[in-house]
């Protein structure tokens, strides 16, 4: 494409004299029309009235204008309208800029007329410097597959998959076990309707089967993930089932002849108790677990006696194939949903309660199994809450569901055996929302006692095996001694083993507790890798309803990377290969892991993964990376244009880089509210404070600007994870250098601002200007 003409049109929107009250527009127009490259410089009459833009449109149509600069107050929507109107005339929307003099405080600051006009001129020249270097850009299309990957076919994953298929997309469900359903399939009953969880799971499975758009990959794991949003290349490793899924109809003839009994253990804890309602033992060939879907049976080949092929012989459909090999499969998907769920915290670590030592100390998950089985219901039952959770020695967080689970289990227990005595030992009972009703019901029930106090140790009685414990009833201060038949430990949740493995494969960051890191406040379903979404307990402990909601939310977000193509804003970074020396710092520091090596070994951003924050621009030691719409040269040109002094005498000048998510608004609102922001400052907006490269700060100082201010988000609130911290450290390094250079290190200042911190912004600038006055002019001033 040929470089568009450099003839720039400058148009002022005076709003019927509003700008003109503060500024000498004639003087400005006069000066500007004589500036090289300006082919037209005038006031607009009324851009929103009929024919208001005609003068602009005519010139564009006649090809007299290659670039545009609008000066005045335009809202975001109004800018959009202007872009559209001119795009209709063939004018590339990226070849124009807006200079808002008001938000820079020009119209209300305490400057006297000449200085104010000079500042206005300077600001316009800054924006002109940028406009001269603009390039015509267009959004980029990247191909987007129409299928999604869901890792983990538990309750959350299944329901999310249903939503996805309802919208006509294809979904691949990857599950490491032989059957779907996860932990929920092993529960006895659910609160609030006290219904069987398998009912809801069965419903989802039917919906998925009927849709014809769901493919199940059981006994599978993801071993690699390449590419990016829109086109992730996934490689699955599939363990052999030893049964042909197409032929098997679960008639069970094979199991009848199988000579081997196998203990069913919690998959995540080999040798551990079977979770919940799962059978304690099965034959070596058995239906899929936890739920019998996929319908085909599965053989646990490691238990087969050598040479035994009884099941193969017995199968009337010839479905058993004991020679199956593991295989790999490759998938192309648009986005990935991680719903790998939770595992119970190993309660044997909480030694004081004797889990694993005494047979009548069980976990809440095992209690589900007991309540669903025909076993005799014990009479004296205790529930200890917060076992392992809310405990610095184990899990510092609350596992969210254990209180509700214990309440529910106490209710069943009383239903099964009305003369049972339940004791619930708690610190706090967390029964939010409508669950309060359950709590109140149980509190008033005969034979259910809530004791606020946690026992310290549990000892079995030698003869009876009953468990003796002592506890302080903290509400009365009295000692309570009990002998119980059964003790249920309300254990906590940890991220599943599947989550751990996956984190390595997908290089997905996790927080310090092992859960997948997300931007909790605004985007809980997002992970730090674009295109990979996280839902359910792999993100945070939560109940079943919340897991399903969370996963469906994540599915909704994931859909944007499906549907043929995805449009990427042309604001992505570009690496200048003549300058880059492959130090890989951009790759290391990118908060979203967007960079990969191209065929020549140069770091390249993946357009789908990139969130266009510009942190790579800031970190590159050679300033070799630019954002397409905010290049290093454009920024350097703006800084150069700002270096001529507009202040009188020895007044210092300050150049500020403000992050466009928080700091910019603080500054703009400060001007709006008429706060006494010193007029010495001019600012530019950057996508993230992390964009600010040390070379740009060096430019500003070398050209004589007295002070540089960087405004960033508060710690922990940066929209791009840690851009504020990165730039803070860099500017610190530069300050150290300044000190060595016999310059005041404080000429570079860093401030954290929240979106409404206008007062803090004003105070910061005031202090800065005062300090700069005391420091004297920049020694580089010529």
């Amino acid at each position: 494409m040929e470089t568009p003409s450099s003839k720039t049109g400058l148009f002022f929107w005076d709003q019927g004299g509003r700008l003109g009250k503060a500024l000498d527009l004639n003087w400005l127009l006069g000066k500007l029309s004589k500036t090289k490259g300006i082919s037209c410089c005038s006031l607009l009459d009324d851009p929103w009235g009929p024919g208001g833009l005609s003068q602009v449109v005519e010139k564009v149509q006649k090809g007299e204008l290659g670039r545009l600069l609008w000066v005045g107050r335009f809202s975001r929507e109004q800018k959009g309208i202007l872009k559209e109107k001119l795009a209709a005339e063939g004018f590339n929307p990226y070849l124009q800029e807006w200079c808002d003099l008001e938000e820079q405080g020009v119209c209300r600051d305490g400057l006297e007329q000449t200085a104010r006009n000079k500042k206005a001129l300077l600001l316009i020249q800054m924006w002109l410097a940028r406009v001269r270097l603009l390039e015509p850009l267009a959004p980029v299309e990247i191909p987007a597959s129409d299928s999604l990957l869901v890792i983990g076919a538990g309750a959350a994953g299944l329901h999310a998959a249903v939503s996805i298929t309802n919208l006509g997309k294809e979904v691949h469900l990857v599950e490491r076990q032989s059957g779907v359903g996860g932990k929920v399939a092993s529960l006895h009953r659910f609160y609030p309707r006290l219904c069987d969880p398998r009912c809801g799971l069965e419903f989802s499975i039917q919906a998925l089967s009927d849709s014809g758009r769901a493919r199940f990959h059981t006994l599978s794991r993801v071993v690699s993930l390449e590419g990016g949003p829109g086109n992730f290349q996934v490689r699955l490793e599939k363990r052999p089932r030893f049964v042909d899924e197409a032929r098997c109809n679960a008639c069970g003839e094979c199991a009848r002849v199988c000579p081997v009994e196998v203990r069913v253990s919690a998959e995540s804890q080999p040798g551990g108790e079977p979770p919940g309602l799962l059978p304690a033992a099965t034959k070596a060939i058995h239906p899929s677990l936890p739920m019998g879907f996929p319908v085909a049976y599965v053989v646990e080949r490691q238990y087969c006696p050598p040479g035994c092929r009884e099941c193969e012989r017995a199968c009337p459909s010839k479905a058993v194939d004991l020679d199956q090999e593991p295989r790999e499969e490759e998938l192309l998907v648009g986005a990935v949903l991680v719903t790998t769920g939770w595992d119970p915290y190993p309660l044997s670590k909480v030694e004081e309660f004797g889990y694993g030592l005494y047979p009548n100390v069980i976990s809440n998950l095992q209690m589900e199994g007991l309540l669903g089985s025909p076993a005799e219901t014990p009479k004296e039952v205790g529930f200890i809450q917060c076992v392992g959770s809310r405990d610095e020695r184990h899990l510092p967080y609350c596992s969210a569901v254990c209180c509700s689970v214990s309440l529910k289990q106490a209710l069943y227990l009383k239903q099964r055996r009305p003369d049972a005595n339940c004791y619930v030992f708690y610190q706090d009972i967390r029964s939010p929302g409508f669950q309060e009703e359950l709590y109140q019901k149980l509190k008033q029930m005969e034979g259910v006692t809530f004791i606020r106090g946690i026992p310290s140790t549990v000892r079995p009685e030698a003869e009876t095996g009953r468990l003796r414990l002592r506890v302080e009833d903290t509400l009365s201060g009295r000692e309570v001694n009990l002998a119980l038949d059964l003790l249920v430990l309300a254990g906590g949740m940890v991220p599943s083993q599947g989550s751990e493995e996956l984190a390595q494969v997908l290089k997905l960051p996790r927080n310090s507790l092992g859960f997948f890191e997300s931007h909790l406040q605004c985007h809980p379903e997002e992970s730090q890798r674009t295109g990979i979404y996280v839902g359910g307990c792999s993100r945070e402990p939560m109940g079943v309803a919340a897991s399903i909601e969370s996963a469906q939310h994540a599915a909704l977000e994931a859909l944007r990377f499906t549907g043929g193509t995805v449009l990427i804003d042309p604001k992505y970074p570009v690496v200048d290969k003549t300058k880059c020396d492959k130090c890989k710092r951009c790759m290391e520091e990118c908060p979203f892991g967007s960079f990969y090596f191209d065929e020549n070994g140069f770091p390249t951003p993946h357009l789908g993964r990139c969130r266009q924050c510009g942190n790579c621009v800031g970190i590159c030691p050679l300033a070799a990376i630019s954002l397409r719409n905010l290049t290093i040269k454009q920024m350097a040109a703006q800084i150069q244009a700002a270096s001529t002094s507009f202040m009188e005498g020895k007044e210092p000048t300050v150049f500020a880089f403000l992050c466009q998510n928080d700091a910019y608004y603080a500054a703009r609102d400060a001007a709006e509210a008429g706060l006494p922001v010193p007029p010495n400052v001019v600012f530019v907006k950057v996508p993230c404070a992390g964009y600010v490269n040390n070379a740009l700060i060096a430019d500003a100082l070398a050209l004589g600007i007295d002070g540089v201010l960087i405004g960033a988000c508060q710690d922990g609130q940066c929209h791009y994870v840690k851009g504020n911290q990165l730039v803070s450290k860099r500017s610190d390094d530069l300050s150290d250098k300044l000190q060595k250079m016999m310059m005041e290190r404080d000429r570079v200042r860093f401030v954290n601002l929240e979106i409404r911190d206008s007062e803090k912004y004003t105070a910061t600038v005031e202090q800065f200007v005062q300090d700069l006055r005391a420091m004297g002019p920049n020694p580089f001033k010529i």
Binding site: K584, I619, I632, A695, L696, A698, D733, L734
Partner: protein
Amino acid sequence: MPPKVDKEKCDGCKAQQEPLCEQVCPGDLMTLGEDKKAYCRMPRDCWDCMSCTKACPVGAIETRIPYQLGYHLAKLIPMMGTNTITWTCIDINGKVERFRYVNRGRLD
């Protein structure tokens, strides 16, 4: 005189294949030590081009001026802009002079 690396600031360029100072040194003198920090392995061969000082992203390198020219108290510090270099010269008496040059060598 050879470059001096501030071990606290140096992060070994995150111990990638080669740190920046190693990549840029024309005499192949800078390298990573056992502590994963950069150092000059042949101080006598250094000819004070200061490429390493300019390249270091965290400003951990300082060149030592030979005693004939000013020794410890004298300093020569470059600050890299986008297309400029500013030099600050401090002589043994503490007098400071500053120079700014546009870098015409860049392939733009």
